[in-house]
C-alpha cells in the first residue's frame, strides 16, 4: 500500500502552485489540517472502550480542491495533512508511527481515486455552478469514502485478526450518510475557492463544527451501547460471587463458538453481549440464597430458578437489546426438555441460548465461576474432565452440535497455550 501510494505521488508530480494561488492554497492546507485534527474516536467492540477507528472530516476540502485545481492538488493536499495529523497523533495521543504511515498511504490512495474520477467528470477550472460539477462532487466524495472505508477495514481486520466481513459491515453502512452530510460543505468550499474568497473559507469552519458534532454523537451512541452492557455486567458480577473473569470468559468463548457455527457477524456480537448478561436476573434475587454454601431447599431452588425470566424482564423495555431477551430467558432450557423455566424441546430453544448454556456450564465446571468458594457438592474439574462431562450430556443436557464445535475450540486454545508456554520456557 505504501509503495502504491508513493508511485501515485510520483506520477502526480509536484503540482505547480501559481503565485496568485499561493494564498488560497495556504488557506486550504490550514483549513484541511484543522479539519483533520478534529478527530473523533469510534469504538468498535465493547471490551476495548479505548480502541477504535479515528474519524476525521477533511474529505470535503480534499474533494473541493481536486475539483477546482486538478486531482494532483487533491492528492498532495491529503498527503500533507495526513502527515501532519500523523505527527500530531504520534506525539500527543501516543499512536504508533506505523499507523500514521498506513493512514497517510490510505488517504493518498483514496484521494487519487476520488480526485481522478471527479476530474474526469468535471475538468478543473470550469464553473462550479452546473449539474455536472455537482455530480462530480458527489461522485468524488462517494468514491473517496468507499475506497477509504475498504482500506481501513482491511487494515483493522488484519491488525485485530477479525473477519473482514464483520468490520466492513460495521463501517460501510455509514458511507451514504457521510456523503450526504459532506456534500454541502464540499460545495461551499469549492464555491469559495472559485470565487477566490479566502476569507469565506473561514465561514466553512462553522458547518465543520456541526459535522464534527454529529460524528461525536455517533461515537458516543456506540460507546453508550457498550457502556450499558458493561455496567449491567458489572451489576451481575457484584450480585453473585463470580470471580473477575467468569462472565468475560464465557462471553468470549460464546462469541468464538458463534463465529465457528457460522452465525452472521453482528449476531456473534449479540451472542457476546447476551453471554455477558445471561445471569442478569440474579441481581434481583435474594443474595443470602445465592451465596449459600450448602444445598438449597426446594423453595430456595424455586427462587433461584426464576432468574432467567427475571433477566429477560429487566431488558424487556430496552428495544436495542430486544434480540437477546429470549436467549437470556432460555439459557437454562435443555434439549431433552428437562430444563427450566418452560421445559422446551431442542427445536424450540434458540441456538444462541443452547450455546450460552454449554459455555457457561463448562466455565463453571472448571471452577471459573467461584474458585475461592468451597462448595460442598462441587469440586473443580480439569479441562479434560469438563469436556468429557459435556460429551456425556450431549443431546440430553447440552446441544450436541454446540458441544462438538466447542470441543474443537477448547482443544485449539490448549494447543496455542502449550506453544506459548513452551516458547516462553525456551
Amino acid at each position: 500500500m505504501g509503495l502504491a501510494s508513493a508511485v501515485l505521488l510520483a506520477w502526480a508530480g509536484v503540482p505547480l502552485v501559481q503565485q496568485h494561488q499561493l494564498g488560497a492554497f495556504a488557506a486550504i492546507v490550514a483549513l484541511a489540517t484543522a479539519a483533520e485534527l478534529l478527530l473523533v474516536r469510534y469504538p468498535l467492540r465493547p471490551e476495548y472502550p479505548d480502541r477504535g477507528v479515528w474519524l476525521s472530516v477533511s474529505t470535503p476540502v480534499v474533494i473541493a480542491t481536486a475539483l477546482t485545481y486538478g486531482w494532483q492538488f487533491g492528492v498532495w493536499l491529503d498527503a500533507i495533512i495526513s502527515l501532519i495529523a500523523g505527527l500530531v497523533m504520534t506525539q500527543l495521543k501516543g499512536t504508533r508511527p506505523r499507523w500514521a504511515f498506513i493512514n497517510t498511504a490510505q488517504s493518498i490512495l483514496s484521494a487519487a481515486a476520488a480526485g481522478y474520477t471527479a476530474a474526469l467528470l468535471h475538468p478543473p477550472y470550469l464553473s462550479m455552478l452546473s449539474l455536472r460539477s455537482g455530480g462530480a462532487l458527489v461522485a468524488g466524495l462517494a468514491i473517496y469514502l468507499l475506497v477509504n472505508t475498504v482500506l481501513v477495514s482491511i487494515t483493522i481486520s488484519i491488525a485485530e485478526s477479525t473477519r473482514l466481513g464483520w468490520v466492513l459491515k460495521q463501517t460501510i453502512s455509514s458511507v451514504p450518510r457521510d456523503v450526504a452530510l459532506m456534500v454541502p460543505i464540499s460545495f461551499l468550499v469549492a464555491l469559495m475557492l472559485q470565487l477566490q474568497g479566502v476569507v469565506g473559507l473561514l465561514g466553512v469552519l462553522v458547518p465543520y463544527l456541526a459535522l464534527r458534532q454529529a460524528f461525536v454523537i455517533w461515537a458516543r451512541q456506540q460507546a453508550l451501547y457498550h457502556q450499558t452492557i458493561r455496567s449491567l455486567g458489572f451489576l451481575v458480577q457484584r450480585a453473585h460471587p463470580y470471580t473477575g473473569g467468569h462472565l468475560q470468559r464465557v462471553a468470549q468463548w460464546a462469541r468464538r463458538v458463534a463465529e465457528r457455527l457460522g452465525l452472521p457477524p453482528e449476531r456473534c456480537e449479540l451472542v457476546y453481549e447476551a453471554a455477558l448478561l445471561h445471569d442478569l436476573g440474579k441481581t434481583v434475587l435474594d443474595e443470602r440464597i445465592l451465596n449459600k454454601p450448602a444445598r438449597l431447599t426446594p423453595e430456595e431452588w424455586e427462587h433461584v430458578k426464576k432468574h432467567p425470566q427475571l433477566g429477560a424482564e429487566i431488558l424487556s423495555d430496552t428495544p436495542f437489546l430486544s434480540q437477546i431477551v429470549p436467549w437470556i430467558a432460555l439459557h437454562h432450557e435443555r434439549p431433552d426438555g428437562k430444563g427450566y423455566p418452560f421445559g422446551l424441546n431442542s427445536d424450540q430453544i434458540p441456538l444462541e441460548a443452547r450455546l450460552i448454556a454449554v459455555v457457561d456450564a463448562f466455565d463453571a465446571m472448571i471452577g471459573g465461576e467461584a474458585p475461592n468458594q468451597k462448595r460442598l457438592h462441587r469440586r473443580p474439574l480439569s479441562i479434560e474432565e469438563a469436556i468429557a462431562e459435556l460429551e456425556r450430556g450431549a443431546g440430553t443436557q447440552f446441544d450436541a452440535q454446540v458441544v462438538d464445535v466447542f470441543k474443537q475450540i477448547v482443544h485449539e486454545w490448549q494447543r496455542q497455550r502449550e506453544q506459548h508456554t513452551s516458547k516462553a520456557s525456551k
Binding site: 464555491l191 458547518p207 457502556q227
Partner: protein, 217 residues
C-alpha cells in the same frame, strides 16, 4: 449572477439543515437511546423490591411536566429524566430481605436504606457516559433546609417522589397536605407550588390514587 445567488441560498439552506441535524435531531435521538438503556436499571430495582422502589414511569411523566412548568432548560430536563431511571440503582447493594420486608423497618435498616442515593451515585459515577447524572442522583432525596442551594431539579425529584409515594400508599390529599406542611423546611417552596399546580391540572388532585390505575398505565 442569478446562478451565484441561487447556489449560495442552496448552500446556506443545506448547511442549516446540517446544523439542525447535528445539534437538534441527533442529540434528541441519543437521549432517547440513553433512556431506553437506563430503563433496565429502574426495572431491575422494581423487580428486586417487588415494585416498592425504582418505579420510574409515573415519576418520569410528572417530573418532566413539572420541570417544564418551572422552565428548566432542555439539558436539565434530560438529566432529570436519566436521574429518574438511575436514582434507586444503589438498592442492588441493600439486602433483599430489607427491601422486601413486610414488617416495619428497624432503625438500622432505615439508616441503611437512607444511604441508597449515595450508593446509586457511586455506581452511576462508574459509567462514563452517565457520569454527569451522578450529582443529581446523589441529591434526589435532598432536604431543603439542609441544602437550599441544591439544583432545582434535585428538589423537584425529592418532593415529587414523596408526593407519589404518599399518594400511592395513602391518598393524594394526604400527600398534598404533607408537601404543604414541608414547604420551606423539607421542600423547596417554588417546587411544591409547581408540583401542586401540575397535579391539580392533571386532575390527580383529591383523587384516591391507590385505586386509580389511570396514572400508572
Amino acid at each position: 449572477m442569478h446562478n451565484i445567488i441561487w447556489s449560495i441560498v442552496v448552500a446556506i439552506g443545506s448547511l442549516m439543515a446540517l446544523a439542525y441535524y447535528a445539534f437538534v435531531v441527533v442529540p434528541a435521538r441519543l437521549h432517547r437511546l440513553h433512556c431506553e438503556g437506563v430503563r433496565a436499571f429502574a426495572r431491575l430495582i422494581e423487580l428486586r423490591s417487588g415494585g416498592r422502589y425504582g418505579q420510574a414511569e409515573p415519576l418520569r411523566t410528572l417530573a418532566l411536566a413539572v420541570a417544564q412548568r418551572l422552565g428548566l432548560p432542555t439539558r436539565e430536563q434530560r438529566l432529570l429524566e436519566l436521574a429518574v431511571y438511575l436514582r434507586d440503582i444503589g438498592m442492588v447493594a441493600i439486602p433483599y430481605h430489607t427491601l422486601n420486608k413486610s414488617t416495619p423497618l428497624t432503625e438500622a435498616e432505615r439508616a441503611l436504606l437512607a444511604r441508597h442515593p449515595e450508593i446509586s451515585a457511586s455506581i452511576v459515577e462508574q459509567i462514563p457516559g452517565l457520569r454527569q447524572v451522578a450529582p443529581l442522583v446523589h441529591l434526589h432525596h435532598v432536604v431543603y433546609q439542609e441544602q437550599p442551594n441544591a439544583p432545582l431539579s434535585a428538589h423537584l425529584l425529592s418532593a415529587l417522589e414523596d408526593w407519589l409515594r404518599l399518594a400511592r400508599e395513602h391518598s393524594s390529599d394526604l400527600a398534598t397536605s404533607i408537601l404543604r406542611q414541608g414547604v420551606g423546611t423539607r421542600y423547596h417552596p417554588q417546587v411544591v407550588a409547581a408540583i401542586l399546580e401540575e397535579v391539580h391540572q392533571q386532575g390527580l388532585y383529591g383523587r384516591d390514587l391507590a385505586r386509580s390505575a389511570a396514572l400508572w398505565l
